[in-house]
């Protein structure tokens, strides 16, 4: 694991000591090389874990998430180059350092083997993200957004700290690899119910669960592009990853404790998808779509069947790439018209046909078109939830329909139809933007050819 961590740490001196015109080139290059190294961890020969050291390990669940995190850093750098071009040099370097620091914490979070270490890094990821949102966001609402983001997550995770310390006291160790073998069924008592709640609420807030999702539209909308990308693609998956790890300790309470959260997720999926149909703000639409997709992951993780775990893992990776790509597309609009309103930049297909192709592909993957991994994830989750309870298929079916509706609504509003006459002021697409979209899309399509690496440890 050090072969990823040390190069990531060294990216920080690289940004501060590079020549001013080379900072972006250097960081993007080395970021891409680090992502190449992280692919080695996808070689997971069996159900067991690859233990790099006493502190780090990688699993079939954490390796794809690790690859996603390291792949995203160069993409974030490419996406941020334009809006930072007018900033003074020190501020650019600071921004890049924040991104690298966030990447470092995320890598360590996904590979931490001890749960307190995981918790510390889970909280540590909040700080660079908060700085990115509140310092470099574009509107005044960013301060409110940062506040919501920080405090929702902190409120959820403070009980988690207490719960982890209790479990450590009780079991003797919190090393995830060891407690797997020491688990005993948790007897049903009030204090264990609170223990269950304490463990899970942090991840529920992070996912986010429907009732606790208010921070997400604010944070995603107010964050600059790199902030939105990393929030949507990786930070939400921290919640899913954490849930999948911690539910191993909490059986059999999950059987009945899960019900309220299942209800919230199943209903919340439909609610947030429906809200998407009424959005005028493009980034807000994509943010609510993230809530909807993550609600599927919550349902999958709470059901705890082999198929649902496979679906949850696949859906996390697929949604990471798709959502990040949609935010990049929204940003390419924003950089031209300085507004997130969808109807202000409509009929773009006539002017920017290549960008329209990326919009089409991103919308198609968002609505889970076969044979993409989005479909594999959604389908596995729908099937396993049907076997858990037959009635859920109605809700899941409605959600799939509404997802298709709002994805196509977004596509049609921005790309099709008659353009406004302001379209003549829109500059042609840059190579940078097309490369960014391709770098998002190609891994997604390549994974459709070989999905077994993202199906997680149960495959």
């Amino acid at each position: 694991m050090l072969k990823i961590i040390i190069p990531t740490i060294m990216l920080i001196p690289l940004t501060w000591m590079s020549k001013p015109n080379m900072i972006w080139i250097n960081t993007t290059t080395y970021g891409l090389l680090i992502s190449l190294i992280s692919l080695f961890y996808l070689n997971q020969p069996n159900d067991n874990t690859l233990n790099s050291s006493l502190m780090f390990f990688s699993d079939s669940l954490s390796a794809p998430l690790l690859a996603l995190t390291t792949w995203l850093l160069p993409l974030m750098l490419m996406a941020s180059q334009h809006h930072l071009s007018k900033e003074p040099l020190t501020r650019k370097k600071l921004y890049i350092s924040m991104l690298i620091l966030l990447q470092l914490f995320l890598i360590m979070t996904f590979t931490a083997s001890e749960l307190i270490f995981f918790y510390i890094l889970f909280e540590a990821t909040l700080i660079p993200t908060l700085i990115i949102i509140t310092r470099w966001g574009n509107q005044t609402e960013r301060l409110n957004a940062g506040l919501y983001f920080l405090f929702y997550t902190l409120m959820g995770s403070l009980p988690l700290l207490v719960a982890l310390l209790y479990i450590h006291n009780f079991m003797g160790s919190l090393n995830f690899l060891m407690i797997q073998y020491w688990i005993q069924p948790l007897p049903n008592s009030w204090s264990n119910i609170f223990l269950w709640l304490a463990c899970m609420m942090a991840f529920m807030v992070k996912m986010p669960l429907y009732g606790l999702h208010l921070w997400l539209p604010k944070a995603h909308v107010e964050a600059p592009i790199a902030g939105s990308m990393v929030l949507a693609a990786v930070l939400l998956k921290l919640g899913g990853y954490g849930m999948m790890r911690i539910t191993t300790l909490l059986n059999p309470l999950t059987n009945f404790m899960a019900y309220p959260f299942m209800m919230l997720s199943l209903w919340g999926m439909i609610m947030t998808s429906s809200i998407c149909l009424r959005q005028t703000d493009l980034k807000s639409l994509i943010a609510y779509s993230s809530v909807s997709h993550m609600a599927l992951v919550i349902v999958a993780v709470l059901i705890q069947t082999p198929w649902s775990y496979m679906g949850a893992t696949a859906l996390m990776i697929a949604h990471g790439l798709t959502s990040s790509m949609l935010f990049c597309l929204a940003n390419s609009n924003y950089e031209r018209i300085h507004s997130r309103t969808m109807v202000l930049a409509r009929g773009l297909q006539t002017l920017l046909p290549l960008m329209a192709a990326w919009w089409l592909l991103a919308s198609l993957t968002n609505l889970a078109l076969p044979p993409t991994i989005n479909l594999i994830g959604e389908l596995f989750v729908v099937m396993s939830s049907f076997s858990w309870s037959n009635t859920t298929i109605i809700l899941m079916g409605i959600n799939i329909i509404i997802t298709a509706l709002y994805s196509l609504y977004m596509l049609i509003t921005t790309q099709r139809g008659k353009y406004s006459h302001h379209i003549k002021n829109i500059k042609p697409s840059f190579t940078r933007e097309n490369a960014l979209m391709t770098l998002h899309l190609l891994p997604l399509l390549l994974l459709s050819l070989n999905p077994k690496i993202i199906l997680g440890p149960i495959y």
Partner: protein, 164 residues
């Protein structure tokens, strides 16, 4: 090939048009094959009049159009050399190194799921399928039965002596 918006040089035209408006004619030209005429505008120095209301979609005067100074801009930087090298670096390391080598690495990953104890973990299925096809092909070609009903070779089994 694709004319109009997709034509060669159309990008430059669009880029210029985005901030400076469409170029105007300076001389009069009449087509010999049709009745088309392109003429300089009758009112001298005419440009689209300044709009009285500023719309959200109007181009931001502080926005720099990277295409103005460098019509071949790739969108990375104002400096054309840095811009070009940034583009090359992204394409080389992003596509040629990571995507190509990464995909090759992932495609050639060994057959998943516990190579050590395949029966328990349902592993080595792809190998098992290939091996079965190979054996079937060999046995059919040589006229041998595809499978024998004996699991082990009967001649190699040594039974203990019959004891009366």
């Amino acid at each position: 090939m694709a004319a109009g918006l997709l034509g060669l040089g159309a990008r430059r035209l669009l880029a210029v048009a985005a901030t400076r408006g469409l170029p105007v004619a300076h001389v009069r030209w009449e087509s010999s094959s049709s009745r088309a005429v392109i003429a300089p505008s009758a009112v001298a120095g005419k440009r689209t009049p300044e709009p009285t209301v500023r719309w959200q979609e109007d181009p931001d005067p502080e926005d720099e159009n990277l295409y103005e100074k460098n019509p071949d801009s790739h969108g990375y930087d104002k400096d054309p050399v840095v811009d070009l090298w940034n583009m090359r670096v992204v394409f080389f390391f992003g596509f040629s190194i990571v995507l190509v080598f990464g995909s090759t690495f992932v495609a050639y990953l060994p057959d998943y799921r516990c190579m050590g104890c395949p029966r328990e973990w349902n592993g080595m299925q792809e190998w098992a399928r290939r091996e079965a096809e190979r054996l079937v092909k060999y046995r059919e070609a040589n006229g041998l039965p595809i499978m024998e009903s004996n699991c082990f070779d009967p001649s190699k089994i040594q039974l203990p002596e019959d004891e009366d």
